[in-house]
């Protein structure tokens, strides 16, 4: 094998290229992402380690299509703040190679044959909005699947959270559809569980955002 060429050898070293034509379009994740995206170290149903502070919660739900049929090949990703409302950022001093932070706040899972997904995490704190105002505790959620040419973006809120009344994002959602974003509290084996189904199409369709 020859030595790999450096970028400098063919004139692409450093600096900005011409302003690009525009964004790269999305395409579906398709049916075969399992091996590529849900590897042992990138399948992240469990977001916590023993040292993570905060109230442990389990999130559990199903992804359903327009017939109410389970979607067995969905990819779910979540992004959330820690219990203090702080998002872990790559430039945080705590996030360096070999020093895994006790809470990153990113989860990734696939649905099973029943369309079910789950995460073990902590309830996030309220996070800043603008000025002194805050957003109610919530988890950012992305859904990809065969048949979704672009991923869907939504949020999970907690039905038993009084701060929902003042949340600036929920306020944009038509009142009669807000319930689709609320995880319903329950308990299983002493642990708090929030149940939340994602309905892609039709009756009870989950609210998705244009972001």
């Amino acid at each position: 094998m020859t030595e790999p060429k450096t970028e400098a050898a063919h004139g692409h070293a450093g600096g900005a290229r011409a302003r690009p034509d525009g964004l790269t379009p999305s395409q579906t994740v398709g049916p075969f992402f399992l091996d590529g995206l849900l590897r042992p170290d990138t399948r992240r149903n469990v977001l916590v380690v023993p040292e993570t502070s905060g109230v442990r919660i389990r999130i559990e739900g199903r992804v359903l299509d327009g017939d109410g049929a389970p979607v067995p090949d969905a990819l779910i990703e979540v992004w959330q703040a820690d219990a203090d409302g702080h998002y872990c950022q790559p430039d945080d001093a705590s996030v360096i190679p070999g020093n895994v932070p006790v809470f990153i706040g990113f989860g990734r899972a696939g649905t099973d044959n029943a369309g079910t997904f789950w995460f073990e995490t902590i309830k996030p704190g309220a996070v800043p909005y603008d000025g002194d105002s805050t957003q109610a505790p919530h988890i950012g959620v992305i859904v990809g699947a065969r048949g979704l040419l672009n991923h869907l973006v939504t949020r999970l809120y907690f039905a038993d959270e009084p701060a929902n009344e003042r949340d600036p994002v929920l306020a944009r959602v038509p009142a009669e559809r807000r319930g689709t974003l609320l995880g319903r509290p329950g308990a299983a084996e002493g642990q708090a569980v929030y149940r939340w189904d994602i309905i892609l199409h039709g009756v009870g369709e989950t609210v998705f955002f244009n972001v």
Binding site: T28, F32, I142, A145, L149, N210
Partner: protein
């Protein structure tokens, strides 16, 4: 191809991104949302992201011809796929995670649900990953994937493609897409590719680059990827947002209101 219903619900710029409903791609029909997407402000949740911390990427992960762990080499035309990850202003996106997956040279995936009688290659997993360098550049060594049949319509074949997943610097940068090779007669017959607005389709096609090709080793393809930047304006420092309200809503790629009216067009 039969008449296709193209939905009006699109996330992001409708001149760039495919609609959720594109009935020629049958799986969209029961999975596309039917209600308008809700416009919401970009907040700290959308303007931050997990970065590359989610996995320990090793150099070998970017060589799909040898990363099966068998000691053997994948069968097929060896190709280098390289390019730069940028934001919409042309600024490189460094140290971001790319994850790819693809069929083997015969068009077969290792996934259990891919059961067509194309041969498997024991030396090819079809998965790879790497981080962009400080210039935003990535580089994979792999084999050129084959086309493969699917059951969307009679005698349906997907054009050769490589799936790409990028986390980018923030939640709004997340992109899952596919890279294609030029001059493939299957492009025009593929509803997944054709669902992208025509003017933007060429952005999914890699360019042959003889400067990338290595003598007596591998053919070179160049494909740049442009992500939604973490900030709405070009000159703000890409630091973690503390607050961000409605002022950020002017971000490109996140326009206006979606409707629910589909239109019938030939396709």
């Amino acid at each position: 191809m039969s008449t296709t219903t193209i939905g009006a619900i699109v996330r992001g710029d409708r001149e760039v991104f495919p609609p959720y409903l594109y009935s020629a791609y049958r799986s969209t029909v029961k999975r596309a949302p039917s209600q308008p997407l809700v416009d919401v402000p970009l907040t700290i949740t959308e303007l931050t992201g997990p970065g590359a911390v989610i996995s320990a990427v090793m150099t070998e992960d970017a060589d799909l011809t040898r990363n099966a762990g068998t000691g053997g080499e994948a069968i097929g035309q060896r190709v280098i796929v390289t390019g730069r990850v940028m934001d919409e202003h042309g600024r490189p996106v460094p140290h971001t995670l790319l994850e790819i997956w693809q069929a083997n040279a015969a068009g077969r995936y290792i996934h259990r649900n891919d059961q067509w009688p194309g041969p498997l290659d024991p030396n090819f997993l079809g998965i790879g990953r790497c981080l962009t360098d400080a210039n935003g550049d990535y580089r994979f060594l792999t084999i050129r994937p084959g086309a493969y049949p699917w059951k969307n319509h009679p005698n349906a074949w997907r054009p050769a493609h490589i799936h790409f997943s990028l986390l980018g610097p923030s939640w709004v940068s997340r992109l899952v897409t596919q890279m294609y090779f030029p001059d493939d007669p299957l492009h025009a017959r593929d509803p997944i590719f054709a669902a992208v607005p025509e003017a933007a389709r060429s952005r999914l096609i890699a360019a042959y680059d003889h400067d990338v090709t290595e003598a007596e080793w591998a053919l070179g393809w160049r494909w740049d990827i442009v992500l939604h930047g973490p900030r709405a304006t070009p000159f703000e420092a890409p630091t973690a947002a503390t607050t961000d309200g409605q002022g950020a809503r002017s971000a490109p790629g996140a326009p206006g209101v979606d409707g629910t009216t589909g239109s019938e067009v030939g396709g």
